[in-house]
Amino acid sequence: MDPYIAGTSSGAALGAVAAYLAASALGNAYLFFAYQAALAFALALAASALTVTFGRGNIYATVIAGVAISYLFSALTILALSYLARANPQLPPITFWLFGYLTYVDYKYDAVLAAAAAAVVGLAYLEARRIDLVAISDEISSVRGIRPSRYRLAWLIGISLATALVVAKVGVIGFVGFMVPHIARILLKNGSATALVPASAALGALTLTLSAAVSRGALGFEVPVTAITSLIAVPVMVLALSHARRGD
């Protein structure tokens, strides 16, 4: 599940903006830096939890719930930012939070993000066989000593944390988490996490780097990264859907 579609990213964005709101209300900039990622994490987790709760294990219900939750949190983010923009004109523009900008990243935070990414990818690779089993059957997982609902919850928390760290710094970048595994799946013709995790990590880094390069210069002016990743995502989505309909 892509954090963008599940509402996780929108939750994280609202959390990061809420940190701004709190810091400006209390007039304490230190507070903002200390709690931004934590608040982003809390709301990212809340958004994912709401999506999963409303989805009740049904894939269609989950997607619809994710879209609704995304819009809800985006709307609250717009409200909060419109209010803040009046008081603090020096804040990054709304487009930054809603559509993603890589420009504000510095090397210290890069190190944090690289560590988080390495942890998530590394853990997912080590756990790939167990992730596969939970994808196949709750019953078989259970006799092999995995509690499937707890296992999914643990990943939800981990992914929400990683998403919050990213969104707090670069805003909401859409569709990479959705599109990249699908491309990997089509290229490799294999949906096992053992193949998808390393392939998605490599392909994801490549896609974001290329998208960032295009978003900054190719059009002659700078646009948010999400505009580029979404433009790439649509044909991939269509391809994935026709792929699914053929039943292979």
Binding site: D132, L133, S137, E139, S141, S142, V143, R144, D248
Partner: protein
């Protein structure tokens, strides 16, 4: 392997109201109408559901053939290796179920019968005791004959507990558990008369002997 006085509620309804039975070596068959709690009972034995009361004594390791599973687009080898293990062991069981050389095939492209056999091979490789949920459902006659033949031969080395609607499995069973009204009656296969079956299902069921096999007819 023993289940003693299990009570279990799902969604506010008490599905199992004190179910007891013993699964000795061989094949124990659980029969009962739709919604009687067959799958619930298997899941309780697998540890997915925690009973409100009662004891489940499990002799592991357990294997599980689920009635429903996700149609994943992984290689058969990845499906078998899901959860961990060595491929040689799984390939050996893949041979036994008649799917030698299927390791590189994509699971989602297999037929219903082949998918079931892949998961049966996985369950056999993983368990000394194997829980089977509807092992013969949705199979064509050839695949059903294959699965029944496998169960009747392998029950000498594995302990099977199967939940099913398929009365033909009575011929393969060493013990039959009839689930009705949330409680269980355990009988030897020859004690499962047409009257017992008719009472269990609330339908008129008659059977005949043909070449030593029991053949069932349903009045409607």
């Amino acid at each position: 392997m023993r289940v003693e006085g299990i009570r279990l509620s799902l969604g506010g309804r008490e599905v199992l109201r004190g179910v007891s039975f013993e699964a000795a070596d061989g094949l124990t068959l659980i029969l009962g109408p739709n919604g009687a709690g067959k799958t619930t009972l298997l899941r309780a034995m697998a540890g997915i559901y925690r009973p409100d009361a009662g004891v489940v004594e499990v002799e592991g390791p357990l294997g599980y053939l689920p009635a429903e599973f996700f149609n994943v687009d992984m290689r058969v080898a990845d499906v078998l290796l899901a959860g961990g293990g060595r491929l040689e062991k799984y390939s050996w069981w893949l041979n036994v179920v008649g799917l030698a050389g299927y390791e590189e095939r994509i699971f989602s492209t297999l037929s219903t019968g082949e998918k079931k056999l892949v998961l049966l091979a996985k369950a056999l490789a993983e368990g000394r005791t194997v829980l089977l949920d509807e092992p013969t459902a949705n199979l064509d006659p050839a695949h059903k004959a294959l699965v029944m033949g496998l169960l009747s031969r392998l029950k000498k080395v594995k302990r099977f507990i199967a939940a099913s609607h398929d009365l033909d499995l009575i011929d393969v069973a060493d013990s039959v558990v009839l689930l009705r009204g949330g409680t269980a009656v355990q009988l030897r296969p020859e004690e499962v008369t047409d009257e017992e079956l008719s009472k269990t299902y609330g339908a008129r069921i008659r059977s005949f002997r043909l070449d030593g096999r029991r053949v069932f007819a349903l009045d409607f």
